[in-house]
């Protein structure tokens, strides 16, 4: 990056460290932090949408839809999330390729899953083996986003389902007494009121999401864990910047990064909670009212 870095073997001390930390590989490492942030920022709204759908389905009057919603919310209770992180991308990838296989490939008469192989013709591969590397990486990342969204959608569905049940029953009954239909009650009364009840659970989910991001490594995305292992491992003299095994320092850095992320989120979310509970008929809102009254008197 700097002009002085052209011959690292001549450098010493701080200038060596400066050049080392700005090498091309390290730039990729810093870029992978953006990948992690992108994952969180994309997953959060998508998971919220999944959760919203799941919670509404679990409250539905149509029995099969309700079973589907309940099954989705119950899914994460008994099974480790890591199972889903491993299962969903592979299953989705194979499912998509199977559909394209039925659509694009000439019929071969052989089963697709057989003898420990998954056989689809070249035209059915996603992305095509001829497409550039960037598409392969983008596809991998998209699968990771879906896997995260499915798992976190189920968590969010739990939270939102609870929040919908927490809205005082009298509110809904009043709306019904005014002659609103089921859908109108949901849209005008239930959904606007549920957010204060959902916020503690959703902020908890955000913290969980932050802490789940290193699992991207399991999905084969080149994330911060990948680069920390890659850059930290012992570099012999044939490398431009030889050094012993520094992985422990890289992981210490990651640990501090995550601690900072969760701490900052905690502070922001507690401010948001305080703001949203202002004037609400909940315990937090009541406490705020008393505080303000006490200060004024």
């Amino acid at each position: 990056m700097f002009a002085t870095c052209t011959d690292p073997s001549q450098l010493e001390g701080l200038s060596w460290l400066l050049c080392y930390l700005t090498s091309g590989k390290h730039m990729l490492f810093y870029g992978s932090f953006l990948v992690v942030l992108a994952l969180m920022l994309i997953t959060a709204p998508v998971a919220l949408a999944f959760g919203f759908g799941g919670a509404l389905a679990a409250r539905s009057h149509i029995t099969p839809l309700r079973w589907l919603g309940k099954g989705y919310t119950a899914m994460v209770r008994g099974v480790p999330d890591i199972v889903f992180f491993l299962f969903v991308p592979v299953a989705l990838d194979q499912g998509l390729e199977y559909i394209r296989h039925l659509w694009k490939c000439p019929p071969t008469g052989q089963p697709v899953w057989a003898n420990g192989e998954f056989n689809v013709c070249a035209a059915a591969k996603i992305p095509l083996s001829t497409s550039p590397q960037i598409w392969h990486e983008a596809y991998g990342f998209a699968l990771a986003v879906v896997a995260f969204s499915v798992v976190f959608g189920a968590f969010a569905a739990n939270v939102l389902y609870g929040a919908m049940n927490a809205v005082p029953r009298a509110q809904l009954e009043t709306a019904e007494a005014y002659g609103m239909t089921h859908r109108q009650v949901s849209r005008r009364i239930l959904i606007p009121q549920m957010w204060t009840y959902a916020l503690p659970g959703l902020s908890n989910l955000w913290m969980i999401l932050i802490k789940a991001t290193p699992l991207l490594f399991l999905l084969g995305v080149e994330d911060i864990v990948y680069w920390a292992r890659e850059l930290g491992s012992t570099k012999s003299q044939i490398y431009a910047y030889p050094h012993p095994d520094w992985r422990v320092w890289y992981f210490l850095g990651l640990l501090c990064y995550y601690l900072a992320m969760t701490r900052v989120s905690e502070i922001v979310l507690s401010r948001l909670t305080a703001k949203l509970s202002r004037g609400q008929a909940t315990m937090a809102g009541e406490a705020q009212r008393k505080m303000a009254g006490g200060a004024g008197a």
Binding site: V76, R77, G78, V79, P80, D81, I82, V83, L86, F87, V90, A91, Q94, W113, G116, E117, F118, A154, F155, N158, G201, N204, I208, K211, A212, T213, P214, L215, F217, L218, V225, A228, R229, G232, D245, R247, V248, F251, L252, L254, L255, Y258, L259, T262, R263
Partner: protein, 275 residues
């Protein structure tokens, strides 16, 4: 090969008994059920031991966090913050890399050479990390419960002249446990789920002796069919979860046996913890 033979050969494979080589072809359902179930021994090992040891450390940490003396309170707060604020996955990696840096030849303590090679193996190193991690999460739960012990209970204990250890043992501790129990059940369930991370995070599976998910991934990679091994692993974990809910429910009933029937809190499972 019949299913009983497969069970005889692979049933304890995860501990290193029986057939040395993993199956290479002709993966039957029996193979998958047996090997994944065999791996489950490790999940149970990690979960039970971490939970047992973690319980005592968590009680101590919760008391330390509730202490008035900042010299006791601050370290406990920091410990809980570090382990709850960072991902378990990173903690595993960091612990492994740190343990690898111990000198190979062993550490010399008062003339005795203590071997260090065993601490990098999963059964010791990962268990240690899980123990500290669950202690931090449980300590936060216990601390919250300790803060919600009713004032009247403490005043009653004072009126009876109970102090120190007796007050803690007879009044504070049972009430704390009673209040914390539903949340602690949740913690136990998610600790068992977290044990699946061990063999994906630096700790090597020595001679392919892994946990349930390690073998599930092995089959998924070999057969290119994720639709059989992962549901089997999921099935085993649902069984574990149900067993835990049953066991903790029995303890919950015992903790609340003095309350009238209608006032007993029921266990509610809230999936709120991924590490």
């Amino acid at each position: 090969m019949s299913c009983t033979e497969i069970i005889a050969e692979y049933g304890l494979r995860s501990l290193g008994f029986g057939e040395r080589l993993l199956p290479r072809s002709d993966f039957t359902l029996c193979h998958q059920f047996t090997l994944i179930g065999s791996g489950l021994i490790w999940n149970i090992y990690f979960g039970v031991l971490a939970l047992t040891f973690g319980f005592f450390l968590a009680t101590g940490l919760a008391l330390a966090k509730a202490a008035d003396n900042p010299l006791i309170r601050k370290p406990a707060e920091w410990f809980i913050f570090v382990f709850r604020g960072s991902p378990l996955f990173i903690q595993f990696f960091l612990a492994y890399e740190a343990l690898v840096m111990l000198p190979r030849a062993g550490v010399n303590i008062f003339g005795l050479t203590v071997q260090t090679s065993w601490v990098t193996s999963a059964w010791a190193g990962a268990l240690f990390v899980l123990f500290l991690n669950t202690a931090a999460y449980s300590a936060e739960i216990f601390y919250g419960a300790l803060r919600s012990v009713p004032k009247g209970d403490i005043e009653a204990a004072d009126a009876y002249g109970l102090t120190g250890w007796h007050k803690f043992r007879r009044v504070l501790w049972p009430t704390m446990l009673r209040l914390a129990w539903p949340a602690y059940t949740n913690e136990a369930i998610f600790l068992f789920h977290a044990t699946t991370l061990v063999f994906f995070s630096g700790f090597p599976a020595y001679q392919q002796r892994g946990d349930a998910l390690y073998y599930a991934k092995f089959f998924a990679d070999k057969t290119f069919n994720p639709f059989i091994p992962y549901p089997i692993a999921a099935f085993y974990f649902i069984c574990i979860t149900l067993a835990l809910i049953g066991l903790f429910g029995v303890i919950n009933r015992r903790l609340n046996r003095h309350l009238p029937q209608a006032h007993r809190p029921r266990l509610r499972i809230r999936p709120q913890i991924i590490r």
